[in-house]
C-alpha cells in the first residue's frame, strides 16, 4: 500500500507539473504571438525605410561591380579642355557617403575664356563613372561676347579604400 501511495504521489506530481507547464505555455502563447507580431511589424517598418535608398544602393553596387571607384582627375580634365593654368582648383573636401565611400567637393575658378570651352569641361566631367556633378555655378560674362569668368563647385563620389 505504501508503494502504491508513492506511485500515486509521483503520478500526481508529474501530472501537476505537466498541467502547470501546459498552462504556462498556453498563457505565454499570447505574449509570444504579440512579441513576434511586434518584431515582424518593426522589421517591415525598417524594410520600408531601407527601400528609400534602394536606387542609391543599386548605383553603388553597380559601381562596385564595375570597380568604378574614383572620378576623373580634375587637373587633367581642366588641362585637356581649357588648357594648362586655365583654372584654379581648390583641394577637394571629403565627407562620408556611407558604405566606405566619400563625397569629394572641389571648386574651380575658371579664368576668362570662351563659354564653349567651359561647356566642354562640364560635359567631360559628367561623362565618367563616378561622374563629377555640378553643384553651383557663378559666371560673369566678359565684355567680349561668348566669354567670361566662372566659378564652379563640383562633387563626385569616391571609394575610400578600393
Amino acid at each position: 500500500m505504501k508503494a502504491e501511495r508513492v506511485w500515486k504521489a509521483v503520478a500526481l506530481a508529474f501530472a501537476a507539473v505537466a498541467a502547470a507547464a501546459t498552462l504556462h505555455v498556453w498563457l505565454s502563447g499570447f505574449r509570444y504571438r504579440e512579441t513576434l507580431a511586434q518584431k515582424r511589424d518593426n522589421l517591415r517598418q525598417i524594410s520600408v525605410y531601407a527601400e528609400r535608398w534602394a536606387r542609391e544602393e543599386a548605383l553603388r553596387n553597380r559601381w562596385e561591380a564595375q570597380q568604378a571607384w574614383s572620378p576623373a582627375e580634375l587637373d587633367d580634365m581642366v588641362a585637356r579642355t581649357l588648357g594648362a593654368d586655365a583654372a584654379a582648383i581648390s583641394p577637394p573636401q571629403a565627407t562620408p557617403a556611407g558604405a566606405g565611400w566619400r563625397r569629394s567637393t572641389a571648386t574651380l575658378e575658371v579664368k576668362a575664356g570662351p563659354y564653349a570651352a567651359a561647356a566642354g569641361l562640364l560635359t567631360g566631367l559628367g561623362a565618367g563613372a563616378p561622374p563629377w556633378r555640378l553643384r553651383e555655378i557663378n559666371f560673369r560674362p566678359a565684355a567680349e561676347a561668348g566669354q567670361g569668368t566662372m566659378s564652379l563647385a563640383v562633387e563626385a563620389l569616391e571609394k575610400v579604400h578600393p
Binding site: 508503494a3 502504491e4 506511485w7 500515486k8 509521483v10 503520478a11 500526481l12 508529474f14 501530472a15 507539473v17 505537466a18 507547464a21 501546459t22 504556462h24 505555455v25 505565454s28 502563447g29 509570444y32 512579441t35 513576434l36 518584431k39 515582424r40 518593426n42 522589421l43 517598418q45 525598417i46 524594410s47 525605410y49 531601407a50 528609400r52 535608398w53 536606387r55 542609391e56 548605383l59 553603388r60 562620408p96 557617403a97 556611407g98 563625397r103 562640364l122 559628367g126 563616378p130 561622374p131 556633378r133 555640378l134 553643384r135 553651383e136 555655378i137 557663378n138 559666371f139 560673369r140 560674362p141 562633387e155 563626385a156 563620389l157
Partner: protein, 466 residues
C-alpha cells in the same frame, strides 16, 4: 480492473459434479470439464486453473451459497447516485435479518428514474462467507471472485437469450443440487429472486418433500409476479443439473398453473451458472464478495499492477506533455531569436552598431536624417538633369529670346540672373519659359541699360514636385 486477466474460470459443484467453464476476452465461455468431483480429470482441471490463478493470469469465480445470500432492490429518494450511495448501507440494514456491519455486501450500478435512485444490493454474512471460502479451498479451489448466484443467472439469461420485448416477463428457474433459485424480471430488468431449499434426504424422499414446497410457493410467486408486471403470461427458462432430468422437470412443470406460462430449457443447462460466473468475472461486470480483507492475493496483486500501469501511464503522458511543452517553448524561442537577429541586422544596416535591443525602429528613425544626408551625393549622381541640365535650359532660353546675361548664379535649388533684353516682352517670355522648367520666378526691372535695352533681374527657386 480485470484487464490483467487473460481468462476467467467459473466453477460450480452440483451433486458431486464439478463444472468448470473458461471464458476468454473474446468468444463464448467454453466448458473445460464436467466430471465427478473426485475424478482425476476434475482434479487436474481444477489444479491447472488454480495454477493460472496463482500466477495472476486467470480469475476463478464461484457463486456464494444461494440460501445464505440476500438480494434486495433498494430505493433512495434522491436523483443523485453519489448521495444515494451514502444511504445504501442503512437501507440494506433494514432489509437484512442481521446487522449490515456483519455482512459482506455488493451493490449494483445505480439507476436513476423519476427523481429516485435504485440499486440492487446483495449481502452474505461474513461467517457464512468465510465458511464457504474454507470449504472451497478444501476442494482445491481458491476463488478470486465470489459472485451472487441470482444476479449471475439473470445476467446470463439476458446474455444468452436477450428479451424480444422490453416488457417481456420471464424468469430463470435454476434447479441446483441442494436448492432451486427462481429469478424473475421484466425485459432485462431484475425484479426479485427466490430460493427454495431441497431437503437433504434420500433423493426420492427429498424430491417429494420439495415438490410439496414447490407446489405451495411457486404458483403464488408467479401470480404475484404477473400482478406486479401486469403481464398475461411469462416465459420460464429452466437450467441447472436438475433440468437435465426430464422426468423431474416435467413433474415440476405439472405442479405449476398451465395457463400463461411458456417453458424453455437452456442448452447445456448444468453449466449455465458456471458460464455466467466465468463471463462476468472475465468482463468484471459481476459482483464480488471477496473484497477488502477477504480479497484474493492474486486479485490484489493484479489490481496493484493495474494501478501501477495507470500511474505509469499518467507519468508517461505527463512526460510527453512536458516534452511537447518544452519543444513548443524551444521553437518559440528560436523563432524569436531569428526574427530579432533579422531585425537587429536590418536596423544596424541603417543606424550603425549602436542599436539598443527593443529600440530598433527608434534608432533607425533617429538615423534617417544622417543617412539621408549621407546618401544625398548618390541621389545627386543619379539625377538625370542636375544643375548642368538646369543651366543648359536657362542659357538656351536666354539665347532664344535675345537675352544678354550679365551675371548668372545657379545651384540645385536657386538661381539669380541679371541682364538686358531687346524689349520687355522678351523678359516675360524668358520668365514663363523658366517657370515651365520648374522654377518659381520673381522678376523685376531696374531700368534701362546705357544702350536703351530694358534691364532685368530674375530670382528663382526650384519647385520640388510631389
Amino acid at each position: 480492473m480485470a484487464r490483467g486477466f487473460a481468462s476467467a474460470y467459473g466453477v460450480d459443484w452440483a451433486g458431486g459434479r464439478l463444472l468448470l467453464v473458461r471464458a476468454a476476452p473474446r468468444g463464448a465461455p467454453q466448458s473445460v470439464v464436467d466430471a465427478p468431483t473426485e475424478s482425476e480429470e476434475a482434479v487436474r482441471a481444477l489444479g491447472a486453473a488454480a495454477a493460472e490463478v496463482s500466477q495472476g493470469r486467470a480469475a476463478l469465480a464461484v457463486a456464494a451459497p444461494a440460501v445464505q445470500t440476500f438480494v434486495r432492490r433498494l430505493h433512495a429518494p434522491f436523483a443523485s447516485p453519489a448521495k444515494a450511495a451514502k444511504v445504501w448501507n442503512a437501507l440494506l440494514d433494514v432489509e437484512l435479518p442481521f446487522p449490515v456491519e456483519s455482512a459482506q455486501c455488493a451493490f449494483g450500478s445505480p439507476q436513476v428514474a423519476a427523481g429516485a435512485t435504485t440499486s440492487i444490493a446483495a449481502a452474505v454474512r461474513k461467517p457464512d462467507l468465510e465458511a464457504a471460502v474454507a470449504a472451497w479451498r478444501a476442494e482445491g479451489c481458491d476463488p478470486t471472485h465470489c459472485d451472487v448466484e441470482a444476479l449471475a443467472l439473470w445476467d446470463q439469461q439476458n446474455a444468452e437469450v436477450p428479451p424480444v420485448r422490453g416488457d417481456l416477463s420471464r424468469a430463470v428457474v435454476w434447479l441446483g443440487a441442494d436448492h432451486v433459485a427462481l429469478v424473475r424480471g421484466r425485459g432485462t430488468e431484475f425484479l426479485a429472486a427466490h430460493v427454495l431449499r431441497i431437503p437433504p434426504a434420500a433423493e426420492q424422499a427429498g424430491r417429494s418433500a420439495f415438490e410439496s414446497l414447490w407446489a405451495e410457493r411457486v404458483p403464488r410467486i408467479l401470480a404475484a409476479h404477473l400482478a406486479e408486471t401486469g403481464a398475461d403470461g411469462m416465459d420460464l427458462w429452466w437450467a441447472g443439473t436438475g433440468a437435465e432430468d426430464g422426468t423431474w422437470l416435467a413433474r415440476l412443470r405439472q405442479l405449476l398453473p398451465s395457463g400463461g406460462l411458456r417453458h424453455e430449457t437452456h442448452r447445456q443447462p448444468a453449466a449455465f451458472l458456471a458460464r455466467a460466473l466465468a463471463r462476468r468475472a472475465m468482463a468484471e461486470t459481476g459482483a464480488n464478495f471477496l473484497q477488502g480483507a477477504a480479497a484474493h492475493p492474486a486479485l490484489v496483486r493484479m489490481r496493484a499492477r493495474a494501478h501501477r500501469r495507470v500511474y505509469l501511464g499518467i507519468v508517461a503522458a505527463a512526460l510527453a506533455i512536458l516534452a511537447m511543452n518544452g519543444a513548443t517553448a524551444w521553437v518559440r524561442g528560436r523563432r524569436l531569436v531569428a526574427v530579432q537577429a533579422e531585425l537587429t541586422a536590418a536596423a544596424r544596416a541603417i543606424a550603425g552598431d549602436t542599436v539598443v535591443y527593443g529600440e530598433e525602429v527608434l534608432a533607425v528613425q533617429r538615423a534617417l536624417p544622417a543617412r539621408d544626408a549621407e546618401t544625398e551625393a548618390w541621389r545627386s549622381a543619379l539625377d538625370p538633369i542636375g544643375v548642368e541640365g538646369l543651366l543648359a535650359g536657362a542659357i538656351r532660353d536666354a539665347a532664344a529670346f535675345g537675352i544678354q546675361i550679365a551675371h548668372l548664379k545657379m545651384t540645385g535649388a536657386a538661381m539669380a540672373m541679371e541682364g538686358s533684353a531687346a524689349d520687355a516682352p522678351a523678359i516675360d517670355h524668358l520668365g514663363e519659359s523658366l517657370r515651365g522648367q520648374g522654377w518659381t520666378i520673381d522678376s523685376h526691372s531696374p531700368g534701362a541699360a546705357a544702350d536703351g535695352r530694358p534691364r532685368f533681374i530674375l530670382k528663382g527657386t526650384l519647385r520640388h514636385e510631389g
